[in-house]
């Protein structure tokens, strides 16, 4: 299949772009892949008749039939396990785990099986599956509807981890993930399904329809895995970020008038190390932001890489703004969430060094 691939930049508005929210963009990517490839199968809890608890699979069973899009028993181990078997047969399953917080019962199948299958069989069997799962906080989801477990997967050899931050990227990255012959964890930041949350929780949320990155081309297009996107070019410092925090970082930098270069990583493994190195060597400062807990989070890996590869260009220590090392709380959500105050103070500190 010849794939038009977009550049790293925001989409150009043309005649065939429409404004979609992230759910609509994901739904469209799934519909396109179901149409293009008869081996694509969607399965998960409530994804069939009902169309998913977030509506991501709405209308797909009606259009493509019950053997292409179907509901499953409530068993993450079963969902991932049968998807591995389907992949071994030659299908291209796209299982959904209803919340990333509930992926753990399927972890053995992901870590021990899907991730290792190509390696252990020397390529005889592969697991070309894309596990979609809503993740992240900021929605009063409490402990089990807010987690960001990406570091559990970036630590596993053989799995790719992808996290979009805009409708445009969500569609193009999901199509790439489904076509990829390796297992992909596709985490969808549910806080920004309907609009780009800026972290200023006391202000109304702007819907995607008013945002520049909601311009989504019709039809098939891909955004390559392993390529970061420069959200904003700048000279003062490099901000490495992904998911919901892309928009928070952008809003905070704008509010403080900081000339930051904001890089949306989009894929954590494989990582776009070139984009990171180029930017940090230019700015000399690096701030890493993620929602996930701090200790052994993906920020630690980013910090180590930047320190190892850009040390002589750094004018300040690499810093991390993250969730605290606690389970995700309910009532104290905004005290936990790495919002404008925490990010602003980190920027002040890094710029004063």
């Amino acid at each position: 299949m010849s794939a038009p691939e977009t550049t790293n930049d925001a989409p150009v508005v043309t005649e065939d772009t429409r404004r979609l929210n992230m759910i609509e963009a994901i739904n469209e990517a799934l519909a396109i892949m179901l149409e293009r490839d008869p081996d694509v199968i969607i399965l998960g809890e409530d994804v069939g008749y009902f169309g998913g608890v977030f509506r991501a699979t709405a209308g797909l069973q009606e259009k493509f039939g019950k053997t292409r899009v179907f509901d499953t028993p409530i068993s993450e181990c079963g969902i991932i396990g049968v998807a591995v078997g389907m992949g071994a047969y030659g299908l291209r399953p796209v299982p959904e785990i209803q919340f990333a917080d509930y992926i753990y019962p399927g972890l053995d199948q992901l870590v021990s099986e899907a991730a290792r299958l190509r390696y252990r069989s020397a390529g005889e069997f592969i697991a070309p599956m894309t596990v979609r799962s809503p993740f992240g906080g900021g929605i009063f989801g409490g402990q089990t509807h807010s987690q960001s477990p990406e570091a559990l997967f970036t630590h596993v050899s053989g799995i790719k981890t992808v996290i979009p931050s805009t409708p445009h990227d969500a569609k193009g990255l999901l199509i790439s993930a489904i076509e990829d012959n390796d297992p992909v964890i596709f985490f969808e930041p549910k806080r920004i399904y309907n609009g780009p949350f800026t972290g200023f929780y006391d202000k109304p949320v702007e819907p995607w329809k008013k945002h520049r990155d909601s311009q989504v081309p019709e039809g098939y297009y891909k955004i390559p895995l392993g390529k970061a996107r420069t959200v904003r070019e700048g000279e003062a410092l490099t901000v490495l970020v992904y998911g919901t925090m892309v928009h928070v970082a952008e809003a905070v930098c704008e509010a403080r008038g900081v000339d930051a270069e904001i890089i949306d990583l989009r894929t954590l493994v494989p990582l776009d190390i070139e984009a990171i190195e180029t930017s940090v060597k230019k700015t000399g400062r690096c701030l890493i932001i993620h929602e996930a807990t701090r200790t052994s989070g993906f920020g630690a890996e980013l910090s180590a890489l930047v320190t190892e590869r850009c040390f002589y260009h750094l004018e300040a220590p690499v810093d991390r703004v993250t969730g605290f090392d606690t389970p995700y709380p309910h009532s104290l959500e905004w005290a936990y969430f790495p919002g404008p105050v925490r990010i602003g103070e980190a920027i002040d500190k890094i710029m004063s060094e």
Binding site: C77, G81, V82, Y89, D180, N181
Partner: protein, 433 residues
């Protein structure tokens, strides 16, 4: 004191203290063995329901034991698969071959040619007879003790030994622990060390075959100990929900390393009986009776292939040897268990049956054993040309980094360069490790 509901009886104060039941096997090292408590049913006495029957109709068969071969060495009853003598001799040859292979590989491990091995002694029928009842392109998802399937499907012995030696001829490039075979060509799924993970995968493969309107079915094997894993429950649930064309073989060999089957629930019910709770057909079969195993597997295969649904088969057998080369069964069970096992030895039973039929004799059997040993020996020598573990004839360093992903990302390329650099430091001037 805690409040307790009044229910007309004592509120707790006069009741005995609760006690935890921790299962204990009947016999430990040094004990005399008496297996008379095991109900050995009469061969031929078990009814054979229609293959398209309701799962519930198999209920009596989940508590019984389907048997065909009697003490008279003749086949009895409706489960007699009525195999011709050539097929029976073929089966016996596979048995002899896997036994010769196990003997030599076990010795190879003791001689330091490899790190690890696992025999399947006593359980040959549960893999070979079952595999012979399937089509050669039905996909099997084995555990680690079904080397008999590869033998039955004609996988070259040299390839098996290359894998066990992790040498430069190993198709899995020395990445896998010995005996974790994989052969897509033989519809034999890659073996994983993680127990029971293959069971939902087999169900998924079967679902895929059904989605595509294929005619192939899937079969999986799992030990009775591993049925305690959550994956087994998921597999049975999904198999039932989607009426998947799959056979779930539970090899109940009484032991999971040092734990007897009671730790997987065998004190309360049979493993076959679990099928009924899921709405799956269940059969319990004498796993040391090659004809019964063949017949049960064929019944389940026909059922699956005709869209009548999945089957769970419990193969009631005995693990005659240690769990692996790293195990000493003398430390936890009576040495007499194997010899006292009331269902005998599958190889011996088939041999006697063929002799009873006038299709075999002791001389031919002895000659076959010698020929199998010679064939394994020759294959071993051939494989040793590719090296044995730790003697340098392995795959190139760069292969360690391949197949993690379809293509190597930058970080793996960097690490591959590091590994190759280290080799040059350790062995300068082109000396090979």
């Amino acid at each position: 004191m805690a409040d307790r509901p009044a229910n007309g009886t004592a509120q707790g104060s006069n009741k005995p203290a609760l006690s935890l039941h921790v299962p204990e096997p009947k016999y430990r090292p040094g004990d005399e063995v008496d297996f008379s408590h095991i109900a050995i049913t009469k061969p031929g006495a078990q009814p054979r329901p229609d293959e398209a029957c309701e799962a519930s109709e198999t209920a009596p068969l989940t508590l019984d034991l389907i048997r065909v071969l009697g003490d008279d060495n003749q086949a009895h009853g409706p489960w007699d698969p009525k195999l011709d003598a050539d097929t029976l001799r073929q089966m016996l040859h596979h048995f002899a071959m896997v036994r010769a292979f196990d003997a030599r590989m076990y010795r190879g491990q003791r001689q330091g040619k490899t790190s690890f091995y696992m025999k399947c002694t006593g359980e040959e029928a549960t893999s070979i007879s079952a595999a012979m009842a399937l089509a050669s392109d039905d996909m099997v998802f084995p555990s680690y003790r079904q080397q008999g399937i590869l033998i039955a499907r004609g996988y070259p012995l040299v390839e098996m030994i290359n894998q066990i030696y992790s040498n430069r001829g190993d198709k899995l490039k020395g990445r896998q622990l010995p005996i974790m075979y994989s052969s897509r060509e033989n519809s034999f799924f890659s073996i994983s060390g993680n127990l029971a993970t293959q069971t939902p995968q087999a169900v998924g493969w079967a679902m895929a075959s059904a989605i595509k309107g294929d005619t192939r079915i899937a079969a999986t094997w799992v030990g009775e100990g591993s049925t305690a894993e959550g994956d087994f429950h998921s597999a049975c649930t999904f198999a039932a929900v989607y009426n998947a064309p799959v056979i779930i073989n539970v090899v109940n060999n009484q032991w999971a390393i040092s734990s007897f089957s009671g730790f997987a629930g065998a004190e309360r019910t049979t493993f076959a009986a679990r099928a009924l709770g899921y709405g799956i057909a269940g059969l319990r079969v004498d796993g040391n009776d090659p004809l019964a195993v063949y017949a049960a597997e064929r019944w389940a295969a026909n059922r699956a292939r005709s869209n009548s649904g999945p089957t769970l088969i419990e193969h009631f057998t005995y693990r005659a040897e240690g769990h692996s080369t790293s195990d000493d069964p003398g430390a936890y069970r009576s040495a007499h268990e194997g010899e006292e096992w009331p269902l005998g030895d599958p190889v011996n039973r088939l041999k006697k049956h063929l002799i009873e039929l006038g299709e075999w004799d002791e001389d031919r059997h002895a000659a076959m054993d010698i020929a199998c040993a010679e064939e394994v020996k020759a294959a071993t020598k051939e494989a040793e040309k590719n090296g044995i573990l730790g003697h340098g004839l392995h795959h190139p360093f760069h292969t360690m980094f391949e197949d993690v992903f379809e293509t190597l990302p930058w970080h793996l390329e960097e690490q591959a360069a590091q590994a190759i650099h280290e080799r040059e430091v350790k062995w300068p001037e082109g000396k090979k490790p």
